[in-house]
Amino acid sequence: MLRAEPLNRIQLLMLASETQDAALALARFGVFNPAPCTLDALEETPAVAYREAWLEAEARLSKLLEQCGDTGPLSIPADAAAPALADLQELNAWLKDVWVACLACHESEAQIAEARSHLDALEETLAKLERLNVDLAHLLRTDSLLAVNIGSLPATGLRRLTEALAMTGHLVSRFDQIGEQVFAVIAGERNRHEEVRGLLTQAGWRELPVPDELRIHPQAARTWMGQERTRLNTQSGAACQIMDGLRERFGPRLHEARLRLALARPLAEAALAGVRGKGGLAALSGWVPKRQMGALHDTLDEHFHGRYWLHVREPSAREVSDVPSLVRYPGWLKPFVPLVKSYGIPRYGEFDPALPFAFTYLLLFGAMFGDIGHGAVILLLAAALYRRIGRMAWVGIAAGAASMLFGLLYGSVFGYEDLIEPVWLSPLHDPIRVLTLAVAFGVGFISFTLLANAYNKGVAGRVAEALFDSSGLAGLLFYLGAIGLLASFAGAADVAQLAAMLAGLGILVVAAYKWHEARAGLGERILVTVIETLETAINLFSNTLSFMRVAAFSLNHVALALAVFTLASGLDAAGHGFTLVLGNIVIIMLEGAIVAIQALRLMYYEGFSRFFSGDGREFVPLRLASQHAKI
């Protein structure tokens, strides 16, 4: 049976100057899950500044790497030490300088792009004004009574700006739009121009640089614009050279920065949980598997030669809900683990349902979708998608294999029921047997969940609940008794007397427990006891009947295939073949998906919800960036 590994709570006291090395050693150790330090005497948080510096440096480095591309694979030497706070801050300052230089290039590029678009607009303005035969020199004269500005602003603000400028007797004339930017001419009395300066700034107005040549001679203006374009191209080239040279100039140092930040990561991560300290001392707290304690001592001795103090204790009953769960799954089971964890993480000490989940899920899927042909298609499809979906493909491969196995038992190949003889039974020809088996499976499954719940409650120290509650052993007693009674009435067994006694005893114990647990007045207590006891019985039986869907889907599979064959039989040869292929694709895609969801639903709601709280914490060890999963 899979269970979370027993863990110990450790508190590691060391010199504050060695905290980063301790965190690095624990990350290399691979099975240390940091937790908040509870030593009240240590009131300082010495790793906060370290984490801040690391976060800032990490942000800058990732922006720089975005600019200059990856610097190659990172290998962390086994003897490399973590940077001290001062080193980290120095590295952060260097990264800042480089990034600021990069940012200036960006800014310059953006300004050049904007200047180019302004130049385009100016050229267009010039062309329009030439066609209108307007005397530009006269229009743009600085000593005239009319002030004329040519520029751009965000398109969204144009209407508002026009209205606002109208209040000061100014006119706005839009002549072009590029993207979100509108180009316009603003004209108004020169003596009121100061009045609108703030308004134009607020509106994001950008003046087009109009050269003197434009004021005097349009032809000269064209020459000026050509020169301006060349200047911008040169500027842009210069800016790009800085950006292009980034990797050449700083590549090795950026790679070194990556390495140092990777080495600093463990303490920065541990700081999030809470590293405490006082004066020259610091403490790291967390959880370590009990069986790794010897290895932990060896690791610490090797690095710190006795310059540490390690306090080890077992988790107390009060903190069990805070203890992370570390379960080592066998490789073949790992693909199923995400499906269990999508419901929740098992609590520390709880029964881990991954193993029964994998078996039962495949069993349910195969039973509901038993077909050699369809199963083979699912298997091949999952195998083909292996590279894209990774190890989750194994769930598809196993489900396909289960479907093929049940196809063999049912004698079904691509919906044909008469190509091979069923090894066991044909759902279409023996539906009552299939229904009975499905319900019998449900009884077994629910009994198992009640046992698992009793175990979990017992482990958590809630013995009374494990023994007397409706989802504990008393509930199981009632359930098995009631099933025996029903089986006796149906003539399938002859245990009516014993079964009645068990059922009666079970429900009485459940009712007595509910009565004991109800904290209310007499009337309410009676009501709660009666209703909750009744609900226990109803729930158990409705959940059992829920398993009839397993039989229903196995029949549904045959019925869908029959429908496809009926449709195909009325068509000519080409239509027949096309309908069969399309029909089978629909069955695989649609029914396959529905059955996969139904099997999951049965597991989650009829199974997990009965014994699995799913509110545990995952064991998340400190790791080095390049470290591969050990667990």
């Binding site: 976060l55 960006h106 603000g157 606002a164 209040m167 009045e195 609108v196 607020q202 994001g204």
Partner: protein, 346 residues
């Protein structure tokens, strides 16, 4: 869906504070305040009232109040879709715009990223910005460009252009506020047509108040010229349309502006002599209208919006009370700061 939201709003409406309850909170003994807050569904605020050294949650009072509003908005928008959902979602975006302003200020003052991150309001499911990434921007320029590549591009772009010209933080803040409320009126427009008068009345009260208070502040506190003041106001279709705002912005005193208001607003603001009183009087009138909408058989989105307006007002009042108590202010001073009417109709 409508029945669900109506019922939900009606249930929430029971949480609103009457003036008497607020008054009682001002004078309540310290040991009963946390219980009172918890009983009214404000457990987050109650946790904040307990001795700060004892509590594990380090959020500020302001952050707790906003978290409460966001939690309730999340419940209210659950059954909504289309324009109504978009509107209420954008209504919460003003808290995120406030985060944007905090981030920008932090870059102007060179504040550490970790320090500013602690001051930002957690937006929960309404958050659309990567605060970690933004807080680590090198300077205002980088921050503005990163924001411009995000969901608030249309609000940030004009603000960036304006700021680049002037490097004036006031211009930046004003442009962001202006952009947000312009956006809100766009989101409200289809609902005003679909839902009608009750919703329109709530928007009218909100936008008219914002426009008038901004106009007075920009004109007489900051001394901006009329054209710039007008530019900074929100495009309005309500009691104070564009032409009226232009006329008001051109006037040269608070009294002249108040005298030139439409008659209903003049009546509402009779006797007012300063800008905070204008705000308080208009807010009180807006709350009265919101209460009427909440109690009416108005469409569900109008009632939900009315509830949120009232709830936020209540929570701000509670914040004032808790702050006042924390600072040891006299009860009379706290009551004066509340600017609430003597009592609301039950």
């Amino acid at each position: 869906m409508s029945a669900y939201l109506d019922t939900r709003v009606s249930l929430f409406a029971g949480r609103l504070w009457r003036d008497e309850a607020l008054d009682a909170l001002v004078g309540a003994p310290d040991e009963t305040v946390a219980d009172t807050l918890t009983q009214r569904g404000l457990s987050q605020l109650a946790a904040g009232f307990i001795n700060p050294a004892d509590r594990q949650d380090s959020r500020s009072l302001e952050q707790r109040i906003i978290a409460q509003i966001l939690d309730e908005t999340q419940v209210l928008i659950r059954p909504l879709c289309g324009d109504a959902r978009s509107f209420l979602t954008f209504w919460t975006a003003r808290f995120e715009i406030s985060n944007v302003k905090t981030l920008l200020r932090s870059k102007l003052t060179g504040e550490r990223p970790a320090a500013v991150l602690a001051r930002l309001t957690p937006m929960g499911i309404f958050g659309r910005l990567d605060n970690q990434d933004l807080a680590h921007a090198e300077d205002v320029g980088e921050l503005l460009r990163r924001l411009e590549a995000g969901p608030y591009a249309s609000i940030v772009r004009p603000a960036r252009r304006a700021f680049e010209q002037s490097r004036d933080p006031f211009i930046l803040d004003a442009a962001l506020d202006h952009g947000y409320y312009e956006g809100l009126t766009l989101y409200a427009h289809p609902l005003e047509n679909a839902v009608g008068a009750p919703f329109r009345s709530l928007m009218a009260n909100l936008i008219d108040r914002i426009n008038l208070v901004w106009l007075l502040r920009y004109r007489f506190n900051y001394g901006l010229p009329p054209a710039q003041v007008y530019y900074l106001l929100v495009g309005s279709r309500y009691s104070l349309p564009g032409t009226r705002l232009q006329e008001l912005a051109a006037l040269d005193s608070l009294d002249a502006v108040l005298a030139a208001l439409p008659l209903p607003l003049q009546t509402q603001l009779a006797g007012v002599t300063d800008i905070p009183s204008v705000f308080a009087r208009m807010e009180h009138a807006a709350a009265g209208q919101a209460l009427r909408v909440l109690r009416s058989r108005a469409p569900d989105i109008a009632r939900a919006f009315a509830y949120l307006i009232l709830r936020e007002r209540d929570l701000r009042a509670i914040r004032a009370v808790l702050r006042g108590r924390h600072l040891g202010l006299a009860e009379a001073d706290i009551r004066m700061a509340l600017h609430r009417a003597p009592a609301r109709a039950a």
